[in-house]
C-alpha cells in the first residue's frame, strides 16, 4: 500500500514538473509574441499591390510603436475601431497635427476632402484605395490602437524581403 502511494507521488511530481516547463515556455512565447516580434498572416484586397489578396505571412515587430517610432509610410497592424476583435493592416499616411487630403470614394467620384489629424491620432489608408475600409470611412484612429509594425514578408518565398 505504501509502495503504491510512493509511486503515485513520484508520478504526480514528475507531471507537475513537466507542466511547469510547458507553462514557462508558453509564457516565453506570449512575451515574445507581444513585445518583440511574431509572424502574422495578413490577407485581403485593401493593401494591393503591396500585400497579396490571398494571404502573406509577414514578420511584425512590437517594439517601435511602444517607443513612438511609427511614422508616415509604415505598414502597421491595428485593432479595428469598428470591431476590437479584428486586426487590420494598413499604412500610416499622417500623424497628429498634419493635414490630410484624400479622395473620398475614388471609384465613384473625384470629390476630395481635407482633414487635420487631431492630437494622439493617426490617419491610416490602405494602398488599394478602391477597396479599402480605412480612415476615409471611420476617421483618424487613436495611436493606442496600433499593435505592431510590419517588418518584412517571409511567405511566399518569391516575395521575401522588406515591404
Amino acid at each position: 500500500m505504501k509502495l503504491l502511494f510512493g509511486k503515485w507521488t513520484a508520478i504526480a511530481k514528475e507531471s507537475i514538473d513537466r507542466a511547469a516547463i510547458v507553462a514557462k515556455f508558453l509564457c516565453l512565447l506570449h512575451v515574445t509574441n507581444t513585445y518583440i516580434f511574431s509572424p502574422t498572416l495578413v490577407y485581403g484586397p485593401s493593401m494591393l499591390p503591396t500585400l497579396n489578396l490571398t494571404g502573406d505571412v509577414v514578420l511584425s515587430e512590437y517594439v517601435s510603436h511602444r517607443l513612438g517610432k511609427v511614422g508616415p509610410g509604415d505598414v502597421v497592424l491595428i485593432q479595428s475601431p469598428e470591431n476590437p476583435r479584428k486586426m487590420i493592416t494598413k499604412r500610416v499616411v499622417a500623424m497628429e497635427g498634419e493635414v490630410v487630403s484624400f479622395l473620398v470614394d475614388p471609384s465613384r467620384s473625384d470629390r476630395s476632402r481635407t482633414v487635420v489629424v487631431p492630437k494622439g491620432h493617426v490617419w491610416i489608408q490602405g494602398d488599394n484605395i478602391y477597396a479599402s475600409n480605412d480612415s476615409r470611412n471611420f476617421g483618424p484612429i487613436p495611436y493606442g490602437l496600433i499593435q505592431g509594425k510590419v517588418w518584412c514578408r517571409v511567405w511566399p518565398i518569391d516575395g521575401f524581403g522588406s515591404l
Partner: protein
C-alpha cells in the same frame, strides 16, 4: 573548529570554508538570474492576460476612487483582463483604457453608454458608433472624458476594475451603477 575539512578532491588538497562558498557563487548567481527571468516572464504574462494591480491618480472618479485630496496614498485597484477576450462590456463597468489624446497615459472611467446608444451631450444627441463606448468619470466636474474627446474605441480598453485593494479601510468591490445625471437612453 578551525580548518574544518569540507571538501577534498583528487590531488589531496583541501578547500577551506570560504573558498568553497566562492566556488559556488557564480552557480547561485546563475540560478537566481534564471529564477528572476522566469518570474519576470510569468509575471508579465499573468499581468497581460489575466489580472493586474494599478494605482489610481487624480480625482476624476471621486468618490469611487481617491475620495479626498488629503489622503496619504493613492487608491490601488485590482483589474481583470478576462474581459479583453470577447470585449463584452456593459453599462456601469469601470474600465482602464489608453488615453486617446496621448497613448502613453492611461485613464480610468466608467462606461455610460455602449455602441448603438444615444448620449445627450452639450451639442445634442450623439450616437455611439459600432465598436466604441462612451465613458464618463463619476466626478463630472473634474473629469475629462468622452464629453471632451468623444466615444472611444473598445480596442483601447486595457482592463476592467473589480475591487479597490488599498488602502485597507477602503477595500471593497466596485459596483456597476449608472450615475444619476446624463444617463444614456
Amino acid at each position: 573548529m578551525k580548518g574544518r575539512r569540507l571538501f577534498t578532491y583528487s590531488g589531496g588538497s583541501v578547500i577551506s570554508n570560504s573558498e568553497f562558498i566562492w566556488m559556488g557563487m557564480p552557480n547561485t548567481i546563475m540560478k537566481m538570474f534564471n529564477k528572476s527571468i522566469v518570474f519576470g516572464l510569468v509575471g508579465i504574462t499573468v499581468t497581460d492576460r489575466y489580472a493586474g494591480v494599478c494605482p489610481i491618480r487624480g480625482s476624476s472618479m471621486s468618490p469611487t476612487f481617491n475620495p479626498s485630496l488629503e489622503s496619504f496614498t493613492d487608491d490601488y485597484v485590482f483589474l481583470e483582463k478576462f474581459c479583453l477576450d470577447k470585449y463584452k462590456f456593459s453599462h456601469g463597468d469601470v474600465v482602464i483604457f489608453s488615453d486617446p489624446t496621448n497613448y502613453k497615459e492611461r485613464c480610468v472611467k466608467r462606461i455610460v453608454a455602449m455602441e448603438g446608444d444615444y448620449v445627450s451631450n452639450v451639442n445634442g444627441a450623439v450616437k455611439v458608433p459600432e465598436g466604441h463606448c462612451w465613458v464618463e468619470g463619476d466626478n463630472s466636474a473634474f473629469s475629462s472624458d468622452s464629453r471632451t474627446y468623444g466615444p472611444i474605441p473598445l480596442g483601447l480598453i486595457r482592463g476592467r476594475v473589480t475591487h479597490v485593494i488599498w488602502p485597507p479601510q477602503r477595500m471593497k468591490k466596485v459596483d456597476r451603477r449608472i450615475p444619476q445625471e446624463g444617463f444614456a437612453f
